[in-house]
């Protein structure tokens, strides 16, 4: 059993990948909550519900916003560690997602302090659908990487 730096990297990324999966599942649930307004249409027309609804939308958008930077930084940490450990294949698999995150971060609407998820435009179905699709794709990717890291960790531990 060779407890190399690579093996240590994989162990750490395994644990943090679980956290990433948790974040993405949280995002998916948040989008679902955004979509479901009050079921009864007559309730939706009740003027006193308007304030609750806006506060709800703002609360969910704040939550989503708080998840963005931790997720991006954890993934950035992965890439850094793989680079230091010399695991080029794994690094190559993660580079597209890193570039995508960079593009998303710098291409955000330059609207004051918001990182993204603006409450006034989030309910437009095209933006909502895009965000939902993005979350599902990321969930699939993180799940696959979880098992890939697991395998690579065992491989790194076992091989000399």
């Amino acid at each position: 059993m060779a407890f190399t730096f690579a093996a240590f990297c994989y162990m750490l990324t395994l644990v943090l990948c679980a956290a990433l999966i948790f974040f993405v599942i949280w995002q998916i649930i948040a989008f679902d909550e955004l979509c479901t307004d009050f079921k009864n249409p007559i309730d939706q027309s009740n003027p006193t519900r308007a304030r609750e609804r806006i506060l709800n939308v703002e609360r969910i958008c704040n939550l989503l916003r708080r998840l963005v930077v931790p997720e991006y930084s954890i993934h950035g940490l992965f890439c850094l560690m793989f680079m230091c450990a010399g695991e080029w294949v794994t690094l190559g698999l993660n580079i597209p997602l890193l570039l995508y995150h960079l593009w998303r971060y710098f291409h955000r609407p330059a609207d004051g302090s918001e990182v993204m998820y603006d409450p006034v435009s989030i309910m437009n179905a095209d933006i909502l659908n895009y965000c939902q699709k993005e979350s599902w794709c990321k969930l699939g990717f993180y799940l696959l990487s979880f098992f890939y890291y697991l395998y690579s960790m065992v491989y790194a531990l076992v091989s000399f």
Binding site: P47, A50, I54, M123, N124
Partner: protein
């Protein structure tokens, strides 16, 4: 599949219009085929809308008068029930069957609505039961099918519902057993008075709050006199009933409230100087019942202009004033009208001047189109939650960061009014415009605590909304105030293929509280045919609606991406659609730039958008003017927007009664619409340009003296005054005719366009010339060069 040729203008003129004299010939459409003959036509005769036009050769593409909206290709018995195009318009009047077909056509699919428009004939129904579909909650409309007398099939979700017993009786004809004759099934636009299930809290009263800037700058402009005088004149015509409330806040570096409690001998001013933490000084009597405290309100309005005459305050605490207004209006909801004359400098929401005057004529990207701070947007959301709408009147000469301030209105369903360089002495035309706009603003119909839902047939879905509101849910809009001058647009996509469907329907339902405290629902329903060939899609394209929707999309693109991206996207829109037409629809390939007759104005309108204040580069444009132009593109309904995009030019020194309209015993001449090019101007004539917010009357140097004396009241050209904005009311036939024409133009829109009479050396001549879209300028192409550019791009 029914193939009815098109090309007629909308079938019926409104009542009161009768054509006189020789009617001008619009697009000469072929005779309408009856459905039984349609099958025999076998495409032997192309519909007028698909007639091929070579834009490089045909110069006269503008119709004689206004551009008629296309008529959907439905059987006549359904089409007569269809919603008026002034209220509900679709970019494609024949809906493609699949999303891939829509993508191939490269035209945007969307709806443009004007749901609360002032209508002369609106059926109002008071019914204890409002018949709605059980699954999708659609209101019953003219396009449902009755399976037998007891059941009806929804045209949006195809569910079969039962007809309730009460619905079988028709109160209009006093007959039983004919549900399809009831008014709900006979008119596409109808208003219901909502029964009590729709009222979950007592309907709010009309509450009006006026927030006035009284800094030194504001008093200098003299706007306070106009506002107070206008309010005094219109106090009795404010929409409302016995519960109507009114209140006033003024602000400079502190906030001033006015105690108008019944019983006081005069209004009492309460000053709050702690602007970091605004509080309301007294719990009530700041918003008072209008009918009970009318004398006090009138006293306040008479005293207000003089109260701040000697003020030396130069700061403006707009943010805290808005917070105070929000706190005051939160318990009930209502409308706040904010008047601002400078950049807010104190307290929360203070803004800095971000405009760089050297960048005004930049040929590259324009910066600072997005808000500088979230404060106004967050406050607008809070207001929207409490059913408060904020309308903003900006009357300033310098940069006021409208991009940030405008957010307070955009998300709380308010409206933005802009009077650049307003001054009571230096700019009297703006004063007149402000007065007339204010009168309309105070007296127009208003709806409170409204929501609007737009439903479409299963298979279509709405994905983006444009306009001033908050999007609460994927199909529900929150509108704290709804007013008759607001327009909305939505973009749609086809989620499931519309196979087995001949028609699709759209329904817009607006639930609001009227100013008299009644909960009402206004429902508009439109029906359109489904087609599966590209040529039918092109035949049904509505070029003005497409232009309006593309303008809204381009405004969004310039804010999220950049202005250059938006300009490129506009040009690509016309390139792609004409390229598709050329490759997929045209059977014979010819040289030149070919377009179908229904889209022949498309390149002209896109060029007009590229030269419009919102999107132009290379010409000096103030940032606030540009941002206001962008707001207008998203807010104005289509019929008021088109003259702003493509002004209408007429020659008016030789008006005749030929082809004139006769409305209410007045004869309105109908001169021919000319191309917007200086080659159409002539020294011997006088030309009128209707540009939406402003009307120019250009007098040629050698204009006939009979026109000058009989219409303008001056003996010769050099006697025409420099800044003439009013027409003398002379008794001559020409003067009567001319004033009838201008009055008719003005009546078509709710805001007041100022008339400017321009001579050749006038200061306003550059503004007039900038509207000459077909001409070349140093930073933009001429129309012909644009067509050549398009042709080159298409044949790549």
């Amino acid at each position: 599949m029914l193939h009815l040729p098109m090309g007629h203008s909308y079938p019926s003129l409104p009542p009161g219009y009768q054509k006189m004299g020789i009617p001008p010939s619009p697009l000469a459409g072929p005779v309408q085929l009856t459905p039984s003959m349609a099958g025999l036509s076998l495409q032997s005769q192309t519909p007028e809308a698909l007639r091929v036009v070579n834009l490089l050769q045909e110069r006269n593409i503008l119709p004689h008068g206004a551009v008629p909206p296309p008529t959907p290709c439905l059987p006549q018995d359904l089409q007569k029930f269809n919603c008026s195009p002034e209220v509900f318009r679709c970019t494609l009047t024949s809906i493609p069957q699949t999303q891939s077909l829509l993508n191939k056509a490269k035209l945007p699919l969307g709806l443009l609505l004007h749901p609360f428009k002032d209508l002369s004939q609106l059926p109002v129904v008071t019914s204890s039961t409002i018949v709605r579909c059980r699954t999708c909650r659609t209101y019953i409309n003219p396009f449902v099918t009755f399976l037998d007398q007891k059941r009806w099939k929804c045209n949006l979700c195809y569910r079969v519902n039962d007809v309730p017993e009460e619905f079988m009786y028709n109160p209009v004809t006093r007959s039983y057993g004919e549900p399809h004759k009831r008014p709900e099934v006979q008119s596409p636009t109808i208003e219901f008075i909502a029964p009590s299930e729709y009222m979950l809290r007592p309907p709010q009263p009309a509450v009006y709050l006026f927030v006035l800037d009284v800094s030194h700058n504001a008093v200098e402009t003299g706007y306070l006199d106009v506002v107070c005088q206008s309010l005094l004149d219109n106090l009795n015509s404010l929409p409302g009933d016995a519960r109507t409330k009114i209140g006033f806040i003024t602000f400079d570096s502190t906030i001033h409230f006015y105690n108008l409690q019944e019983g006081l001998s005069q209004p009492q001013m309460l000053v709050v100087s702690d602007i970091e933490d605004i509080f309301i000084p007294t719990p009530d009597s700041l918003l008072v019942n209008l009918s009970e405290c009318k004398e006090l309100v009138q006293d306040l309005l008479k005293a207000l202009p003089q109260m701040f005459n000697k003020t030396m305050e130069t700061h403006s605490a707009l943010g805290p004033a808005l917070q105070a207004a929000y706190k005051l209006l939160s318990p009930t909801g209502g409308r706040a009208s904010v008047f601002q004359t400078q950049l807010p400098t104190l307290g929360a929401g203070a803004l800095k001047s971000r405009e760089d005057p050297n960048q005004r004529a930049s040929a590259k990207d324009i910066q600072h189109l997005t808000p500088a701070t979230d404060f106004y947007k967050k406050l607008a959301l809070d207001c929207s939650g409490q059913q408060v709408a904020v309308d903003l009147f900006l009357l300033s000469g310098q940069y006021c960061d409208l991009a940030s301030l405008g957010c307070i209105s955009r998300f709380s369903a308010g409206s933005v009014y802009y009077y650049p360089s307003y001054h009571h002495q230096h700019n009297p035309s703006q004063v007149e415009r402000f007065q007339k706009d204010l009168k309309r603003y105070l007296t127009r119909k208003i709806g409170f605590e409204a929501v609007m839902r737009i439903r479409c047939t299963k298979g279509l879905s709405i994905h983006t909304f444009h306009g001033n509101f908050f999007v609460r849910s994927t199909d529900l809009l929150s509108l704290p105030n709804v007013n008759p001058d607001a327009g909305f647009a939505v973009q749609m996509s086809i989620e499931e293929n519309l196979l087995d469907m001949q028609m699709v329907s759209f329904q817009a339902a607006l639930l609001y509280t009227s100013s008299k405290g009644e909960r009402r629902i206004r429902v508009h329903t439109m029906c359109l045919p489904v087609v599966n060939s590209l040529s039918d899609i092109f035949a049904g394209a509505d070029v003005q609606a497409i232009t309006g929707l593309l303008a809204s999309m381009a405004v969004d693109r310039s804010v999220t991406a950049s202005l250059c991206d938006a300009r490129d996207a506009l040009t690509n829109a016309v390139i792609d659609s004409l390229a598709t037409y050329r490759s997929s629809v045209l059977t014979i390939q010819q040289a030149g730039l070919l377009a179908p007759s229904c889209l022949r104005l498309f390149p002209l309108y896109i060029l007009a958008l590229l030269k419009q204040k919102a999107f132009r580069t290379g010409t000096s444009t103030r940032l606030d003017d540009r941002v206001f132009a962008m707001y207008q593109l998203k807010y104005q309904p289509l019929s008021y927007l088109m003259p702003m995009i493509h002004p209408v030019l007429y020659r008016v020194d030789d008006l005749t009664d030929e082809g004139a309209l006769n409305i209410n015993d007045r004869t309105i001449p109908q001169p021919r619409v000319l191309q917007l090019s200086v080659e159409k101007l002539s020294r011997e004539g006088a030309f009128l340009m209707d540009a939406g917010l402003v009307i120019f009357l250009w007098i040629g140097r050698n204009c006939s003296s009979s026109f000058l004396s009989q219409v303008l009241g001056v003996p010769n050209y050099s006697a025409v005054p420099q800044n003439m904005t009013r027409l003398p009311e002379l008794d001559t036939a020409e003067s009567v005719r001319f004033r009838a024409f201008i009055g008719w133009l003005r009546e078509q829109r709710p805001f007041y366009p100022v008339l400017h009479v321009i001579r050749e050396e006038s200061q306003l001549k550059p503004s007039f010339m900038q509207n000459m879209i077909e001409d070349r300028t140093e930073s933009a192409l001429s129309y012909y060069e644009f067509l050549l550019h398009l042709q080159q791009q298409i044949s790549k």
